[in-house]
Symmetry: C2
Subunit: 254 residues, 2 copies
């Protein structure tokens, strides 16, 4: 496997982002992890060029930003569609996370929400990274019964296989399970199904949003972000230009 | 009528925008006006909360930017839907345009594309402004026969009524008619129907795009911008944060 490219994110931009990120020293929400919703969008609010199409939107600068975000959260949640289509590593290639003596500790816990048990661990980059010691084992939340779902993920062993199956009952119970596994903060990275669901149904649980816009249109065949009513409202918006892209940070209006 | 609020747009932001705007000294395209496509969008690429719903997206800073743009173009084109729903003034309230000795000369020509002849001049702000000497008379391009369409707008008299009807045959012939009326540059401000049509069918005629994003979602009942294929491509993107909003400028990739 080729050596992973190491990414750098400048300190002046960290300072501008940090007010929108969980403080590593807490406090955190008591009964669930802090939630940062983050995604990369086209000008026409599409996150991919079409169903099942892997689509790279972020340029080098905003990509480094995403890898910085990954070091600032205990977990990264994606849906099984994204896990299957993009086969993402879900680790951080930020210089900090690679060069640190406790490198693995700085890596986020990959979390896959896989209600219909579509994701398979074979040939999965995220599992390979865990097995190779460059990422933590994946927690896979699935709605289909595993061997003995009642015990799973109560104390996930985050074990040698690179992944653990956890029972998915509903979104809120998943958050409780994450918190009970010591995950105090997550970033939700996509795809569109999860993002729309969170924005439409669980906006009250969002602690911040970090959205990257790239200067391209993906058009009417793209898969988009568009919440339903009641619409979530945000405030304290900051726009951070990063090369060709811009990153918007905001917090929910409570 | 209340005195119109005067708007200010700072010089450092003018300098950043100007490379994306027509040079007042030309050169201009020979057979049509320079076209700047400009609109204000929500995070989810909606320009209004629903069909026929007037929706204010721009904050004070990006609104001033729009009024600056209006002084930098010979004409402003909107569709009849926007003209009816928003009843816009389509003039510039920028300090420059109001305070100048030749104030009316700095105002853009309002242009309404009204294929189905839906717009009516009664109670129209744009007509009132023209009659009051604070805006130029409107050119209304309509696909329905007027009294003697063949003569109309060949030499529009931009007359005392505050508006002139012009025959609409197709978009390209309208551009020729504008050019022959001395209009060397237009900004196309909306609504969604026109924007999508330009981005989808006439992208090769666009000279620059200036899109404002406001940090709100308008949701699935909103009316959105989303081109069809082949998708237009842009380059040289610049993102200019303006208070809560950001303004993206770019030029087509030729």
């Amino acid at each position: 496997m080729a050596t992973a490219e190491k990414l750098y994110f400048p300190s002046h931009q960290r300072k501008l982002l940090d007010p929108y990120l969980p403080d590593p020293h807490g406090p955190f929400p008591e009964d669930r992890p802090w939630i940062t919703l983050t995604y990369a969008s086209s000008l026409d609010s599409k996150v991919s060029a079409g169903p099942g199409k892997q689509t790279v939107l972020s340029g080098p600068a905003s990509k480094a930003m995403t890898h910085y975000l990954r070091t600032k959260h205990d977990g990264i949640l994606v849906g099984s569609g994204t896990a299957i289509t993009d086969n993402p590593g879900l680790n951080s290639r930020l210089s900090d996370a690679i060069d640190a003596p406790n490198a693995l500790a700085l890596q986020p816990r990959p979390i896959i929400l896989d209600r219909r048990a579509r994701w398979i661990p074979q040939d999965s980059k995220v599992v390979d990274l865990s097995r190779g010691g460059r990422g933590k084992p994946v927690m896979v939340f699935t709605g289909l019964p595993a061997e003995d779902p009642s015990n799973l993920c109560e104390h996930a062993d985050h074990g040698g296989d690179g992944f653990d199956y956890c029972p998915y009952v509903d979104f809120l119970k998943m958050l409780v399970a994450l918190k009970s596994n010591g995950i105090n903060s997550i970033m939700i990275e996509g795809g569109a199904t999860i993002i729309n669901s969170i924005l439409s149904d669980y906006a009250h649980l969002i602690d911040s949003v970090v959205v990257t816009y790239a200067p391209v249109y993906l058009g009417d065949q793209g898969v988009g972000v568009c919440p339903t009513r009641p619409l979530p409202k945000f405030e304290k918006a900051t726009w951070l230009p990063m090369e060709d892209d811009v990153v918007m940070c905001a917090v929910p209006k409570r």
